[in-house]
Amino acid sequence: MDRRSFIKLTAITGTSATLASCGNPENQLIRFVPAEDIIPGVAVWKPSVCPLCQAGCGLTVRVMDADADVVRNGQAGVVRIAAAKKLEGAPDHPVNRGGLCARGQAAIQITYHPDRITQPLKRAGDRGQGRYEAITWENALAEVVARLDGLDGNQRAVAAVSRGGRGHRAAVLRQFLARFGAPAPMTFDLFGDDVLRRANALSFGREQLPTFDLANASFVLSFGADFLGTWNSPVAQNVAYGLMRQGRPGRRGSFAQIESRMSQTGGNADEWVPVKPGTEGVLALGIAKAIVDGQLRPVSGAGRAGALIDGWSGGLASYAGAEVERITGVPAARVERLGRRFAEARPSVAIVGGPALAHSNSLFTALAVNALNALVGAVDQPGGLSFTPQLDVVSAAKAGGPAGAAAPALGQFAADVIAGTSSPQVLIVDGANPVFTTPPTWRVREAFGKIPYIVSFSSFLDETTALADLILPDHSFLESWTEAVPESGAMTAVASVAPPTMRPLHQTRATPDVLLEIGRTLRRPLDLPWQTFDEMLGASFAALPSAVADVDAWTDAQAKGVWTGTLPAGLAAPAPAAGASAAPAAFAEPQFDGDASQYPYYFLPYPSNQFLDGSLAHLPWLQEMPDPLTSGMWSSWVEINPATAAKLGIAQGDVVEVTSGHGKVQAGAVISPGIAPDVVAMPAGQGHRTYTRYASGRGVNPVDLLAPVTEKTTGALAWAATRVQIARVGPPDGRLILFAGGMREHFEGELR
């Protein structure tokens, strides 16, 4: 180095050294006095409850000091807070037993999401434009109260759509509406299990999802249920499944999965049985007939569940092997072998759910599988299925009061509003996004547009909230009292509850408290028996027997995050009225929308492993989590069988258009050997128009293609009953993002 360049170098570094010593600009910010005592660098773990699905898994939350950017009295600054930093499964929770799924791990991002709604907002632009202005809580609540007071005499003109559930929070909304004189909140779950609940009520007298004792099972036969991925209580089922496979030295349980598109669960199966969509019930009865014919179980063993099946007592004459093979496509010899295996492996259990119950004839399918379970004695036995005793929240919290009118079905509600036969004046939206999850043919968006006033409690500007006139953002689950009464997943009665794990970051308020406050300030107050949500929780849990001496159940539950034990007689949810007069169910051909010649393929949307029905698409960790079977991420795709793809000239990644009688979408093709040649599948969850920076405008929503076919008896949406055609549009254009280059077990070239 010569002298000149040395001087140059010292000049440059000297300048940057001077700049570097100016100090950290963060120190220029105002610091606010923290509201709590925090020991820096020391973590505490607090209980909480996972809010993402209805399973109600218990959490343990790592809380540590952190500096948070806040605005106080109009001044921006930083304050030291005790912040939640990591979520894990609660080790002693009877549902998840220490486990937590990847979705649950990502729930921490809800609290710190950059696009969270941080304070009450009032619509400033046209509806759906997404323009809002800030409003104080006082003014916002006064506005809602004035609206509700203005309905005097027309109380039924309030409608609500919520996420539903069996917990206390849902009960607060129901109580609010019932006492106001409005119908109960509508609920809509795209991949909901109402058909199975109805079938269980008929077969077993319990209107709820079953709990499976997989840990003690020897053979599991699953009809379409993605029980290791997204269905029912996935973490509880994963834990028990692990014990079935590896928890008993020398005895490894096995399982067969029956479905037309390989799910994550199917990928784990010992045997994968492809079946024609909508014929799973026939296969179940074919298996039952093989058991009866083989003298492995008496036909009378199925009792009430068997009596619900047409021809059961006569030995299921119309479900002979050849006939079953013709209808389902499963060879008769295989049906017989499955029957023998199912009867001989003790204990064995059959599971039904997911696409198998998304057809026009699904109640029959569910009843058939229930009868099969009853035939082998799997009900309420170790290694079989049982029903988690349910806490009746309303009687535990001594709510009393009027029962309120039943909720209309969402599809019917929308039709009535559009036809003008119903004219609701106020709509309350809590934790639901039906504009995104309902088929466009239901015209829910148009119907909501006709309602003069919409209030949303959402934390994010999703498609439904974007129509709202007023947004009253809820706390995140970590900032508020949380609770769950799991419908399934545990052998004993269970109710979770946890106090807030951290102070609220923003100007938000807990929705149950807001509802209680509105109820108090109405011109004619609603006489709800609690001032705050935690008062209601306290009343409810205090009514439960304590598991620990000297500590009452409420104190114990708050410390542990969960109460579990035996329910006192008065607090168990009552069994549904026996629908004894139901006519025996017989197989009817599943109905599909669309002519087979014009739309040759069955269309199968499925709950995505990352986003379920799309409610989690705003969490970036889940966007970047590869799908376990295709490795797809940040995008939508269409799964196509290699033979079908070859016939249509479609290669991996090509842009294809999927068209139904109701809509069309374009996405990248994923060539997958795990799908039947006459089926194409798409994950749900993407295709949001507005749902934070991470999900908006990303991918397509397969729900846009769905026909309004419903299950014949229950009226539930038959979401796998649409036929489509597919065509190649162009070469890969980067819209399909895969973590791995191709399917992991195949060479790229082999797929082409």
């Binding site: 300048t15 940057s16 570097a20 610091r31 606010f32 006095v33 923290p34 820096p40 660098g41 020391v42």
Partner: protein
Amino acid sequence: MAPLPGQASGVYTTMRRTMGDALNDFLNRHPTATQPIEFPHNIHVGKEVACEFCHEGVDKGAVAGIPGLRTCMICHAAIATDRPRIQQITKMNEMGIDLAWQRVYGFSNDDNVKFNHAPHIRAKVECATCHGNVAEQTVAQRSVEHTMGFCVNCHNERKAPIDCLTCHF
């Protein structure tokens, strides 16, 4: 190769973000902390207030902690309330504004040093060993240089582990 965030180019890097940072580190030059008020350590130590009364994390975890106004007000809600500076901080506390203390000691992220106070307190290392005699200081000064040699000497003397991974992990 595309440059990474915070780097001028993807080719040559120092272990510091800028050449200036590297040079300062090499010469052991640190930005001087300027404190919002001249906190008199000498008076508090003179009144025999123990260090860990205010720096309460020191025997519990990695960080000793720089106390905020809440800690000050434990005593000064009642003690020396006639002094102008105490009245000043009482007023700040009422407004909810904390003192924005700046750090005096500490390692930069680029050093890859993970220091944990608690085991040093358990090993009965005096605070003054690393922080100098604060009884003679008003606001804390960086009177001891925390170079690697300083750490390793003491670890050697006390037969504490000198494995790299003890501190660098």
